[in-house]
Amino acid sequence: MNAPAEIQSHTISVLVANEPGILARVVGLFSGRGYNIESLTVAETDAKESLSRITIVTKGTPMIIEQIKAQLDRLVPVHRVRDLTVEGPHIERELALVKVKGVGEKRVEALRLADVFRAKVIDAKTDSFVFEVTGTTGKVQTFIGLMESLGVVDVGRTGIVAMSRGGEPL
């Protein structure tokens, strides 16, 4: 029973009533019970029903992950909890804004790499770019890593949003 259990990463989608304090309830649950938050995104997704979708990436043993889901589901304003990691194939995306400052060859190289990663230039000055890149966390990470030597001065990331594949809703 007490064999060292494997730590796994899980992506959990939580559909909640969009009401004041709901994010604090979810975040407080994680901090209060000592669970990890690797990534967290939240925004209203259904204005008519006033629902928000929270996507949480968390790490833990299978027993802890099970607890996290049960604890989330217990919160009164939580409508649905889905573990995308165990419920079949799903897709994850992240968006990052990356500000790169530089001139000359470095600037040209930055543009070239951006092209390879299908990153968009969304702001340009003579000595800087802001790139918008989307993709898996790995891709975003790699892009930022490559840009590092070309003069990254600022990075903003959304964290992961995720969805199951196929036609079924959450």
Binding site: M1, G21, A24, G28
Partner: protein, 589 residues
């Protein structure tokens, strides 16, 4: 949701909503932010208000009321300090799954966030210590919110719910909204109460096939209502299996029954803990594998298949992995199990069961609760035995504070029915028992209500003597006075080399004079042969009584499973040498 009455103020709407939710008593303390509610209370006579002397006591009183009646307990406190003082009680109710509605005043909406006088972020502070909470920002939402709050508090796994009420919301006017006729169809909160029948059948199969079974039953059965306890007794007797109760579950099964092994856990009986350790099928109904029960998790009941029936899915596999989990209400689960058992008439392995009982009887014969009689001094265990002797044929309710006296009460007082035993199990709140006893006495005015206390715990809410005097509540406070925070001293003796750091109860008041000062009756006893007379006098006095029983200062509570140890590594008495506490055990509480 159609308006029924002409527009009324928020405070009047609140009072009406409480009446519609069958509330009869509110435990509270006034203040600036709740003045409109107190004005509404003044103008009616359906709701009775009990004025406590500290907000923490209001919550504990409501807990006592709720636990002894099965109803929702209601608390009314003001903003700021009123709300923060209630936090301990709310946490207590959350840990022990007690249905409470706590109405807190709040500064007017336009001042929220301004650090206004007596402002506190009540919903922020109480978020982790309530089942749910609400800040009502518009009077139009008030009545509906109250009805929803009652539904949340009493359904599923019960718990405390806070409704924060800004003063302007209480003074604005709106039409009343009656409680929904059908059980509230909440959009997102729908606790599962009906168990999965296939799993019930599996459970019956596992139970019937057991050779060394044990029922392990907790407060969930009591929370489910008195019917659950009746069904439990019926089912346990049908099987002929042994049963043990948790601290919270005492009374769910009659203590006088031969199948009852007593309480289990850190200070549970030898036979209950060894049965748990050696069983092959464990049937957990409404208990949560609390750390006071399991001891060392890696050594907990290593050879058993475990069935866990609980209304709260988050209790399943939280600390102990089980083989069969059934989510549902205990009453419904027991009903279904009995049905299936009757239909199948399973053949129990009677030979194995007989051998199992024979083994249990050898453990029982160890008489683990035996203690050395004291000669000149009163042993605390003796005091409780005598107390039980005098109350066993009366209509009585017991509450406790927290510590050694609590464990001795759990060991030496016998509970034949549910809802008769109120103790702070999860949070372990010193100061719980006396206000809880007030709440019980309010609900059961003619019953004998006794708070078994220690001299340290009782001082934590001693101000409530004023409340019992005001309402002439004949609560009895039975203090086992050993001049120590006994459980602290016991741990210091066993774990910290007898260095009794700050655990001596210095400068105690004269409890007899103290009782007198508050208008209660004070009695004292220090000789074993006078104890019966004192207890008799306490019982026959129809007024609040404080009994100061001076007991052996050095007595420790046994059996004891030291921290970090397993069920089969208990200390049975002072001669069982300590030193069994491991390094890992030292860091545990």
């Amino acid at each position: 949701m159609k308006p029924e009455e002409p527009a009324t103020t928020g405070a009047d709407l609140l009072v009406k909503a409480l009446i519609d939710e069958d509330v009869e008593v509110v435990f509270g303390y006034p203040g600036g932010a709740v003045l409109p509610i107190y004005d509404s209370l003044f103008k009616q006579n359906r709701l009775r208000h009990i004025l406590v002397r500290h907000e923490q006591a209001a919550v504990h009183a409501a807990e006592g009321y709720a636990r002894s009646t099965g109803k929702v307990g209601v608390v009314l406190v003001t903003s700021g300090p009123g709300a923060t003082n209630a936090v301990t009680g709310l946490t207590d109710a959350l840990m022990d799954s007690i249905p409470i509605i706590c109405l807190t005043g709040q500064v007017p909406t336009h001042l929220i966030g301004n650090d206004a006088f007596q402002e506190a972020d009540t919903t922020g502070i109480t978020r982790p210590c309530t089942k749910h909470n609400y800040l009502v920002k518009a009077v139009g939402n008030l009545a509906r919110t109250v009805h929803e709050a009652f539904y949340v508090a009493r359904s599923g796994r019960p718990g405390p719910v806070v409704i924060d009420l800004p003063k302007d919301v209480l003074m604005n006017k709106h039409d009343y909204v009656a409680p929904p006729k059908v059980a509230a169809e909440h959009k997102s909160y729908r606790p599962q109460t009906k168990p999965d029948l296939r799993k019930i059948e599996q459970a019956v199969e596992m139970i019937a096939g057991a050779k060394r079974p044990v029922f392990y039953v907790g407060g969930g059965v009591i929370n489910s209502g008195p019917k659950a306890s009746k069904l439990l007794a019926q089912f346990v007797r049908m099987t002929g299996y042994p049963i043990t109760n948790t601290l919270m579950g005492l009374g769910a099964f009659p203590a006088s029954d031969k199948q009852f092994l007593g309480m289990l856990g850190m200070h549970g009986t030898y036979e209950a803990n060894l049965a748990m350790h050696g069983c092959d099928v464990m049937i957990n109904i409404g208990a949560r594998f609390d750390d006071r029960i399991t001891g060392n998790l890696t050594k907990f009941s290593p050879g058993s298949k475990k069935i866990h029936i609980d209304i709260d899915p988050s209790s399943i596999n939280k600390s102990v992995r089980v083989d069969l989990a059934i989510i549902g209400d205990a009453t419904l689960a027991l009903e279904e199990m009995i049905k299936v058992w009757k239909a199948r008439q399973p053949k129990v392995d009677l030979k194995a069961l007989k051998a199992w009982w024979a083994e249990i009887e050898t453990w029982r014969a160890r008489n683990c609760l035996a203690y050395k009689t004291g000669g000149e001094t009163i042993k605390p265990q003796f005091a409780l035995e005598r107390l039980y002797h005098h109350i066993k044929n009366t209509d009585h309710y017991i509450t406790t504070e927290v510590g050694q006296h609590q464990m001795w009460a759990a060991q030496f007082l016998k509970f034949e029915q549910p809802n008769r035993w109120m103790t702070s199990g999860g949070l372990g709140t010193m100061g719980y028992g006396f206000p809880a006893a007030m709440g019980v006495q309010i609900a059961h005015p003619d019953a004998l209500v006794i708070d078994v206390a220690g001299e340290a715990s009782i001082l934590m809410n001693i101000q409530e003597l004023s409340t019992v005097a005001q309402y002439n509540l004949p609560v009895k406070i039975f203090i086992l006075n050993n001049h120590y925070m006994g459980m602290v001293r016991q741990w210091q003796e066993l774990l910290h080399g007898g260095r009794y750091s700050e655990s001596y109860s210095e400068s105690l008041p004269d409890f007899v004079k103290l009782a007198d000062a508050f208008g209660a009756v004070g009695l004292r006893c220090h000789e074993p042969d006078k104890l019966d007379g004192v207890i008799e006098e306490m019982i026959k006095t129809k007024r609040p009584v404080v009994v100061d029983v001076l007991v052996d200062e050095a007595e420790n509570c046994f059996p004891m499973i030291p921290s970090g140890a397993a069920h089969n590594e208990m200390l049975l008495g002072p001669d069982d040498k300590a030193g069994k506490v491991s390094e890992e055990g030292m860091v545990l509480v």
